[in-house]
Symmetry: C2
Subunit: 100 residues, 2 copies
């Protein structure tokens, strides 16, 4: 069973440029992780302070390991310095999938 992680967080829109290189680092490093199928951040089309997270992991063990990765520890610190707030993230158990 694979795992989709999806949700949102907020940053003050004026802080986005400063956060962007850190986002790029955590994306690049996480995509190298074992079991990472998709890992992405995107800005909502209507709300530039709303960042949408989407991740797909091979299994729960891969996701558990991800949270212990050094780049995640660094990211969790630096995002707070850029005004990260209102984190609303869900994990979903996935049994099957298909292109539509």
């Amino acid at each position: 069973m694979s795992v989709i992680v999806a949700g949102t967080f907020r940053i003050p829109p004026e802080n986005f440029a400063g956060l962007k290189p850190h986002l790029q680092t955590v994306v690049a490093e996480t995509r190298k992780e074992d079991g990472c199928l998709t890992y992405s951040y995107a800005r909502d089309v209507e709300d530039p302070g709303l960042i949408r997270v989407f991740e797909h992991w091979r299994d729960q063990a891969a996701l558990d390991a991800h949270f212990q990765a050094p780049h995640m520890i660094a990211w969790q610190k630096v995002r707070v310095e850029h005004g990260f707030h209102d984190r609303q993230i869900w994990s979903h158990d996935v049994t099957d999938g298909r292109a539509i």
Copy 2:
């Protein structure tokens, strides 16, 4: 069993401003649909021509009905006029979920 729809499409970045009001319309209309739990579009933080789609539906029947909605028919036409291409969308069967 709920259904997550997720993936990407591309538009020429210079067409985004013209597409945006149509995106806003399809988002507003779709969020009113029965069984729509989440419906969103966001621009990838690194690639402004890459639009990320995330949807969560109560069940497959609700998703099936969505594709027949008048605003979806209109959206499928107008997006092509704005250079929509490289659609890569997946449907995922979800058995359980939790805030993390």
